[in-house]
């Protein structure tokens, strides 16, 4: 039997009348990556903040490494490392001073702390800006230091709250490769994200949250098969071309059409191979098109397929209930 790194039973958190997390059950086995996927207001951040002992649950229980997050918070904090949605660094310290301070707070003496900070700066390719004040760093640089600060010690359980929200694609790749290395080293990871693509790339198991509840769970492949597969969207240059396009593609592929957007959607289970076939067919027929693109199902697609409403509607409902995001209203962040 595998050990369970994180277990939650009926975990609940209310802010006034707003139920941010509603009787959530969760299991993260040792050495696996579980992703909480959902839009703003779904309860992702509130859930991880309860698990990291930053806020107390109103109901239910949760254990990290077998330790109760309420009764045994100090033990939980020794096992878990949380990197939040907002860089948790002192902006008046330099990148290196931040890492040294975090290491010292973890019990390293001055010399060992400096050595560990330098290792991490090197690992995160942060040598160029190690002595710049955090307030002067770019979002991507800050996020790298933030991740490094969470990895001073090998955490048994790493919690990353929307680690790539707002990052440019390159920084996102850096974060992803870092996460993959950690997972290869055996770290258990709980990841929250708004991107289906990210959950797909990193997670063994995805839990889709909506308004504080689990609406679906499974491997990324299972979830995607329930959401619908990838498709190739072809946008015709004009109305006449759209008619020809529809006739052409209908013969060879499974299609759906969106006449208003002059778009023919071709189901593409073979991904790039299908993209090439569609592009070939269109080129050979000489039909003028504006765009031929491979589309992956987005969080919106997943939401629509699994909850019957869009992510935006869910966000709006969460907002109307009194919280502008899944953070507790009391806790403002810069």
């Amino acid at each position: 039997m595998t050990d369970i790194a994180i277990r939650a039973e009926g975990l609940t958190k209310r802010f006034g009348d707003f139920v941010a997390v509603d009787a959530l059950d969760l299991q993260v086995p040792d050495g696996t990556v579980v992703s909480l996927l959902g839009p703003n207001g779904a309860g992702k951040t509130t859930t991880v903040r309860m698990l990291a002992t930053l806020i107390a649950p109103d109901g239910g229980r949760a254990w990290v490494g077998g330790h109760d997050v309420v009764r045994d918070g100090a033990r939980v904090r020794e096992l878990i490392s949380l990197t939040g949605q907002f860089a948790a660094l002192d902006k008046h310290l330099t990148a290196r001073e931040n890492l040294v301070l975090m290491a010292q707070l973890r019990g390293y003496n001055g010399r060992a702390a400096r050595r560990r900070a330098d290792e991490l700066l090197e690992r995160f390719d942060a040598g160029d800006f190690r002595d710049r004040l955090v307030k002067n760093l770019s979002g991507g640089e800050r996020r790298r230091i933030d991740l490094a600060a969470g990895l001073i010690e090998r955490p048994q359980v790493l919690v990353l709250d929307e680690p790539t929200t707002g990052l440019d694609p390159r920084s996102r790749q850096v974060v992803w490769s870092t996460v993959r290395e950690l997972v290869a080293e055996g770290v258990t990871l709980l990841l929250t994200t708004q991107y289906l693509e990210e959950a797909d790339a990193l997670a063994d198991r995805v839990v889709l949250l909506d308004r504080g509840r689990e609406v679906a769970a499974g491997t990324p492949a299972e979830l995607k098969s329930r959401v619908g597969e990838q498709r190739v969207d072809v946008i015709a240059a004009d109305g006449e071309a759209f008619g020809r396009l529809e006739a052409l593609l209908w013969e060879h592929f499974t299609i759906t059409t969106l006449p208003e957007q002059r778009t023919v959607s071709v189901s593409a289970p073979d991904e790039v191979a299908d993209l090439a076939r569609v592009a070939d067919a269109v080129t050979q027929a000489g039909i003028p098109v504006d765009e031929v693109a491979l589309r992956r199902p987005t969080l919106d697609d997943a939401f629509l397929a699994l909850t019957g409403h869009t992510a935006a509607e869910s966000e709006k409902a969460a907002g109307a209930d009194g919280a502008d995001s899944d953070r507790e209203p009391e806790e403002a962040h810069a």
């Binding site: 990291a52 107390a56 918070g73 707070l105 010690e153 403002a332």
Partner: protein, 278 residues
């Protein structure tokens, strides 16, 4: 290549995060962190020094000639300015606390296996150093302008001790204030509305005995009055009277500080822990 995650062996996890040694160590580290901000955010120190300097200049050279207190006005004014600066430490400590709490770094500290109390004690110690530094600057400014406190060595130690106690008590009050209000702007705004009148009614710039009945009654029991009267009685030959605390300013000042600490320290710690699980 370096491995990403360090081995767990060097950690302090064997020791309890709640041991007093950890508290001292973590407080020291977090105080250092607050102090690093002083040269990097010069406007914070300016907040603590510019205001008293403006009041000194205004009252010494603008209003001073119209105020008659029986002794040299410079000698009368400076103890008041020092006590006013002391009272304003509520606002700066409150603002600093509210700002700190609104930033993600406190969440990081809270998620570390440290003694959580150290986050607050580090804040208090950092503020204490900042206030002492600010006070040193405007006292030096006063001496440069020709203020000569009539102070014995014993009186000097007594004054320093009282000031340290006062700063400490007011910082804790400010920390509680900052934790309750949470918005740095609101702390600043509300702080001035409450503290500024209290510091003006405290016999800081003009004698309480000449005030109208209502402000006089407030001034006789205003804690800041005890601070002003304490500092003044130690640096001049003037002795205040009119209420118990004005007759015994040092005793009253110590009393106020003890009350403030007894109320604010537990409430601040409770408030800080309230949103946390353990």
């Amino acid at each position: 290549m370096t491995t990403l995650a360090a081995p767990v062996s060097t950690s302090a996890s064997g020791r309890s995060a709640l041991s007093p040694m950890r508290l001292v160590r973590d407080t020291r580290l977090l105080t250092w962190r607050s102090l690093r901000a002083i040269p990097r955010v010069p406007e914070r120190l300016l907040d603590v020094t510019v205001q008293p300097i403006v009041f000194i200049l205004l009252f010494l050279y603008v209003f001073g000639s119209a105020i008659h207190v029986g002794i040299n006005y410079k000698s009368y004014l400076f103890p008041g300015i020092i006590a006013q600066g002391l009272a304003f430490s509520v606002i700066s400590a409150g603002t600093a606390t509210a700002t700190d709490m609104s930033e993600g770094v406190v969440d990081r500290f809270r998620s570390l296996p440290i003694n959580r109390l150290a986050i607050i004690t580090g804040q208090v110690m950092g503020q204490f150093c900042e206030q002492v530094l600010g006070m040193t600057i405007y006292i030096a400014f006063g001496i440069a302008l020709g203020w000569r406190p009539d102070l014995t060595v014993a009186g000097g130690f007594e004054l320093a001790g009282l000031l340290a106690l006062g700063i400490f008590a007011f910082i804790w009050a400010g920390v509680l204030f900052g934790l309750l209000i949470r918005s740095p702007d609101a702390v600043q705004g509300l702080g001035f509305i409450v503290i500024l009148p209290l510091t003006f009614m405290a016999g800081t710039f003009v004698p309480i005995s000449g005030m109208d009945a209502i402000p006089r009654a407030i001034a006789q029991w205003d804690p800041v009055s005890a601070f002003v009267a304490s500092a003044r009685s130690l640096t001049t030959h003037l002795h205040s009277s009119g209420s118990f605390q004005l007759d015994h300013p040092q005793l009253a000042m110590i009393g106020w500080c003890v009350v403030l600490l007894a109320v604010c320290v537990p409430l601040a710690l409770r408030r800080f822990n309230r949103t946390t699980a353990a």
